[in-house]
């Protein structure tokens, strides 16, 4: 219990509850079951990207190529759906794409020792360019109604099956990172790489897997995007990397590595996507969208930093005081 209260993602969850509560008192139609679940369902793409990326963030690395990967994955999905390719085959192919991109990023970071932000900055440009090569700059349109419907099937008026799928994915990820040695090694490597080496954790393998996970997360995100949106522009997913990073950070995952859990990314994704929705309900023009996102991000990070700093300082002072006779 103490652990749960102390865990980092609780802060973000509280913010969501308070925020939704406030908006609900202003405009009660916000708090309908339908709307709340629409908000949650709407975050599914960011959630799955954040889950994948959280592996990389646990390591203290970063992956800014997820937006482009998502775009390319969505593009390929769309093209194949239009061609009438079997859905399972599509899923496997696009997953393979994510894995390949992850391997490339991972190789660059792990074996060529290129800083991850630079490596993924480079691949981001290349992948984004590839989308134009593949499509010639055209939208991918005319996806089957059947395929689009897949992302919309809901349990009653509540949650979509794909969101449950993503939650299961998050749960598996969570259990892996919490209870298996290999899962734990992501945060351990991010916490102290040398220390991880010392106790025999496979540092290189961990990094490779993290980037692959990130690639897989964004390629699944691409499939979901294609199904949810139904048409894919070559700019699909652009800027998603920054929003996903912001979601993870708001959810308590530190970019310095070693801290947080996948739930943070999932919760942060809901928060990030709810902003433009909330503005509609409170009647503020959507020009304030990014102002609010920015403020929220800064306020949350600053508050957490102050709280952490205070408590670290308190511990230090207690320790020092206890020494004096």
């Amino acid at each position: 219990m103490k652990r749960i209260i102390k865990s980092k993602e609780i802060g973000a969850l509280l913010i969501i509850i308070i925020l939704f509560g406030l908006v609900g008192t202003y405009n009660s139609s916000f708090l309908t079951i339908n709307n709340i679940f629409q908000t949650i369902n709407g975050s599914v793409v960011y959630a799955v990207v954040a889950i994948g990326m959280s592996f990389v963030l646990f390591l203290g690395e970063i992956d800014v190529s997820v937006g482009a990967t998502l775009g390319l994955a969505a593009t390929l999905t769309g093209l194949m759906v239009v061609e009438g390719v079997n859905y399972y085959l599509i899923f496997i192919t696009v997953l393979a794409l994510g894995i390949v991109i992850g391997i490339i990023n991972g190789l660059g970071v792990t074996y060529l020792k290129i800083p991850s932000i630079i490596m993924t900055l480079g691949t981001n440009g290349i992948i984004r360019g590839m989308i134009y090569v593949v499509t010639g700059g055209r939208w991918v349109e005319g996806l089957d109604v059947e395929f689009k419907a897949l992302s919309q099937v809901r349990i009653g008026n509540t949650i979509t099956y794909i969101y449950i799928f993503v939650l299961v994915l998050a749960l598996i990820t969570y259990l892996l990172t919490k209870y298996t040695l290999f899962g734990k090694s992501f945060k351990a490597v991010g916490d102290n790489e040398e220390g991880a080496k010392l106790i025999g954790l496979p540092v290189k393998k961990t990094k490779m897997v993290a980037f692959i996970a990130s690639g897989v997360g964004s390629s699944i995100g691409g499939i979901l995007y294609a199904s949810r949106v139904g048409f894919i522009t070559p700019t699909a997913g652009s800027g998603y990397e920054m929003t996903a990073i912001a979601a993870c950070v708001i959810g308590g995952i530190s970019l310095a590595g070693g801290v947080g859990s996948v739930w943070g990314g999932v919760i942060g994704a809901v928060l990030m996507t709810s902003i433009s929705r909330i503005l509609v309900f409170v009647g503020l023009p959507s020009t304030y969208d990014s102002t609010i996102t920015g403020l929220m991000l800064i306020v949350i990070v600053v508050t957490t930093a102050i709280v952490n700093k205070r408590s670290a300082e308190r511990i230090r002072l207690q320790r020092l005081a206890s020494r004096i006779e």
Binding site: Q38, R138, E141, F231, P234, V280, T287
Partner: protein
């Protein structure tokens, strides 16, 4: 003269750089299709060059590159109403033909603008499509209190905002009983997922809304998807707007909307480059003149003030307005493929 003959004599080998606001947008890609097709038939070259990010600076770069490349004509859909003026003027000074299409610059910074219509026409068209659909749905737009909102890309985009303004004026004049529930409008920044989010939120926050007008090709499908996600159809809430037929066809089939519109953007693209080539060949083309465009028909150069009442009217600069705009519905949508 017979069209065939005209085409042979027009073989110019000119290089025309055809610049969209942004690359990777179905609308502009279709315009390019039209441009390429007519270029091939008429024997000049069209190079399509756009930046994935819509920004003035990027367009200036592209235009500068076109100038340096030795283009004979530049035809651009401007991201910004004035930001390209100087670079385009300097292109004209260097003897390059400059035209605009879809979205104009200052009237003295180009020779000809190929417009899809006047803002007035387009704003009115958006509202009228809504009115027709409301009637189909059994409402009485003349007398019922119709609640409505606009949902499109951004406050900073010139054309969509000007349509909204004229549309709004048109509503005030003709349907004083209508109520705009969001005078500040809703924007989704050409982000498809955000368009769905905002769309859903509009429907949830205004459960009694009657009409949503989406003058942006990302907002319209997003809003329609939001309708579906919220379990609504064309007889619950009226949605209409501008988008290409291919991107909306499915929603029509699933009864999410009655009709939407656009102009034939392939014709617009074709016309823009053809006129550019025609001017680059040194042909005189003054206000009031007409010319026969192969496959399109006769077009006339109108005064600048047709588009913008404040613009100056000069002899050798003017506007061509596309002869027609199209409203797509179940009856005609299969005739179009773009």
């Amino acid at each position: 003269s017979p069209i065939g003959l005209n085409m042979v004599s027009a073989q110019s080998n000119n290089l025309i750089v055809f610049v969209p606001k942004v690359s990777g947008n179905a609308f502009f890609e279709s315009a390019n299709d039209g441009a390429q097709k007519i270029a091939e038939e008429s024997g000049f070259e069209v190079r399509y060059d756009g930046n994935p990010e819509a920004s003035v600076a990027n367009q200036v770069t592209i235009i500068n590159n076109a100038i340096q490349q030795g283009a004979d004509a530049i035809s651009v859909s401007a991201v910004d109403a004035t930001g390209l003026d100087d670079v385009l003027r300097s292109a004209m000074e260097q003897g390059i033909t400059v035209t605009t299409w879809d979205s104009d610059v200052s009237s003295d910074a180009r020779q000809v603008m190929v417009a899809q219509g006047t803002p007035e026409q387009l704003g009115q068209m958006l509202v009228e499509m809504g009115v027709e659909s409301l009637i189909d749905r059994g409402k009485d737009p003349e007398n019922d209190e119709i609640t409505y909102a606009w949902h499109y890309s951004q406050a900073t985009v010139a054309d969509q905002n000007s349509w909204q303004q004229f549309g709004e004026e048109f509503i005030k004049e003709n349907y004083p009983n209508w109520v705009n529930v969001a005078p500040e409008n809703y924007y989704s920044n050409q982000n498809a997922e955000q368009a769905i989010q905002v769309g859903e939120a509009i429907l949830a926050a205004h459960s009694d809304i009657d009409l949503i007008i989406c003058n942006d090709s990302t907002a319209l499908p997003g809003q329609l998807q939001a309708m579906q996600n919220s379990g609504l159809g064309k007889d619950d809430v009226t949605v209409t707007g501008f988008a290409s037929p291919n991107s909306i066809r499915d929603y029509l089939e699933q009864d999410v909307l009655y009709r939407w519109g656009l102009w034939d953007v392939q014709v617009q693209g074709a016309l823009a480059v053809w006129i550019s080539d025609y001017l680059a060949q040194g042909n005189e083309f003054n206000v009031g003149d007409t010319v026969e465009v192969p496959g399109i028909g006769e077009v006339e150069l109108l005064n600048n003030s047709v588009l913008d009442p404040n613009a100056e009217d000069v002899e050798d600069k003017g506007v061509i307005v596309l002869p027609e705009r199209v409203i797509f519905d179940a009856d005609n949508v299969d005739e179009y493929d773009f």
